[in-house]
């Protein structure tokens, strides 16, 4: 069989992007205003406002830096502007992004004020967008694709059809050398032993079980009734009754390949060779996609039953649904309709090939529903209160 190729942007460090943005990254909430102002003045830039970045400390601060610098380093970003109230933290984020070899400019607000920062950053951003506009898509092997998967507002149609079909596509992508990340730690409850059994390396399996247990122990330590949160109201409306049922549906999208890496919040994605990677994430859609993108995912496959609408400012999020009602009532949000698999009108292979082919088209530049509808959710995970 002919090896499929994608047309992507090869970055300075050899990684491959499927979009070509200039990112405007505020280090903290106070810098959102200036970052958004620059993005309004300069076409081709994308601001990623968020509510954090002040008085965080320890692992929580490390995670914010990891997410901000990882987002700037994402191969979908041609170059980045970092704006922060204080110069030191802004430089920390920028220096990490600069390790990729891409252009980064830093603008501290203290001592300058918003208006001067907006003007100076906009002048640089204009140059950067024009530079980026000359970068061309080139044919690259599918093995350069780093992507991620997650489901949201799931229902029983996810476990019956959209997740197994995505699992088929994931197997095929990994066969061609792509790397696929998955997470949703708490949402593996009831199927965590199945996930663990697919990790052959003992040390990695122990690491996975430690991450899983710590996460669930924290949730249970809160002593609250989780029904309505996990499963969510939407899950319940769609027929999912318990966390175990949701988890067993969830893991259908993992395909059948061995899990060869296990990443905690701060662990970077190892370079080279295709793999199926567990990443410790919350199961909240935007938080998970934000963390995957920060670890280098350039494209996300998102299955939904009841109709989650999540997107990301810098990576395309492909919506896949098998629920015939959702496909009809929320049609503008769904990229790939596999409701015919639920009704057994097509085979798993046919539905899986449909998802695989759509993934290639999106990698080549086709815009997803979430991109066109401006679903630009950027939600760093916060681990605990600020000082």
């Amino acid at each position: 069989m002919e090896k499929p190729v994608i047309k992507g942007y090869i970055r300075e460090n050899g990684s491959v992007g499927v979009r070509n943005y200039v990112a405007i990254i505020p280090v903290d909430d106070l810098s959102n205003t200036a970052a958004i102002a620059v993005s309004k003045l300069i076409r081709g830039t994308v601001a990623i406002p968020h509510p954090y970045g002040r008085l965080q400390f320890g692992k929580d601060l490390d995670l914010l830096f990891h997410i901000l610098s990882g987002t700037g380093a994402n191969p979908n970003v041609a170059s980045a502007i970092v704006i922060g109230i204080e110069e030191n933290w802004a430089n920390k984020v920028a220096d990490k992004i600069a390790e990729t070899g891409k252009r980064v400019e830093v603008f501290p607000i203290e001592g300058n004020g918003d208006l001067k920062v907006i003007e100076n950053a906009s002048r640089k951003a204009k140059e950067m967008v024009q530079e980026a506009s000359e970068k061309q898509r080139t044919e690259v092997d599918l093995s350069s694709l780093v992507m991620s998967i997650k489901c949201g507002e799931s229902d029983t149609t996810s476990g019956l059809a959209s997740n197994p079909a995505t699992g088929y596509a994931v197997d095929k992508l990994i066969d061609y050398g792509a790397t696929v990340m998955f997470g949703e730690t708490s949402e593996l409850t009831g199927a965590e032993d199945i996930v663990a059994s697919r990790i052959s390396d003992q040390a990695l399996r122990d690491k996975f079980m430690k991450i899983y247990s710590e996460y669930v122990n924290f949730i249970e330590s809160q002593g609250v009734d989780l029904l309505g949160s996990q499963p969510t109201e939407g899950n319940i409306k769609g027929g999912l009754s318990t966390i175990e049922e949701k988890a067993l549906g969830n893991i259908q999208k993992l395909g059948t390949k061995p899990i060869t890496c296990v990443l905690d919040y701060l662990d970077p994605l190892p370079k080279g060779s295709s793999r199926l990677c567990f990443v410790n994430t919350s199961s909240a859609a935007a938080e998970a996609v934000t963390l995957f993108a920060a670890k280098g995912s350039v494209l996300h496959l998102f299955t939904t039953g009841q109709g989650n609408v999540v997107g990301h400012p810098l990576i395309p999020v492909v919506k896949i649904s098998a629920n015939p009602k959702t496909v009809e009532t929320m049609n503008e949000h769904i990229d790939v309709d596999v409701s015919d698999l639920l009704q057994l009108k097509v085979s798993l292979k046919e539905a899986g090939e449909r998802i695989f082919n759509y993934t290639i088209r999106v990698a080549n530049g086709r815009l997803t529903a979430a991109e066109v509808l401006q679903h630009d959710e950027f939600s760093p995970i916060k681990l605990y209160i600020s000082a």
């Binding site: 029983t156 019956l160 009831g190 199927a191 989780l226 009754s241 049922e245 067993l248 549906g249 639920l342």
Partner: protein, 99 residues
């Protein structure tokens, strides 16, 4: 088209793939090999995506889907009944809820 699908031959619940009305005689298909599953008379309305009992399930008995436990019955469930949060509960979370 079948009315419901069954993930695994050991399952005691099926999943409606169409809106089922109370009193309807409905047919299922096993996803494993697409073979014909049981015929059941629905005792309640069962919306698309919701579960239908394929056997009588006694209070405290395990509810099985994907060939795996997904919780336990909090009351006796009759064959053909709607199975959801009103009559099953997680074995893992929610232990503090009334059982």
């Amino acid at each position: 088209m079948p009315h419901f699908l069954i993930h695994n031959k050991n399952d005691n619940v099926g999943v409606a793939i169409t809106d089922i009305k109370a009193g309807e005689e409905v047919e299922g298909v096993y996803l494993e090999d697409l073979s014909q599953g049981p015929k059941v008379k629905a005792l309640n309305d069962i919306p698309l995506g919701h579960k239908i009992a394929l056997k009588d399930i006694k209070q405290g008995e395990i509810v099985i889907k994907y060939g795996r436990p997904i919780g336990k019955a909090t009351k006796d469930i009759k064959i053909g009944e709607h199975v959801h949060i009103h009559n099953i509960i997680s074995n893992r979370w929610g232990k503090w809820r009334s059982q």
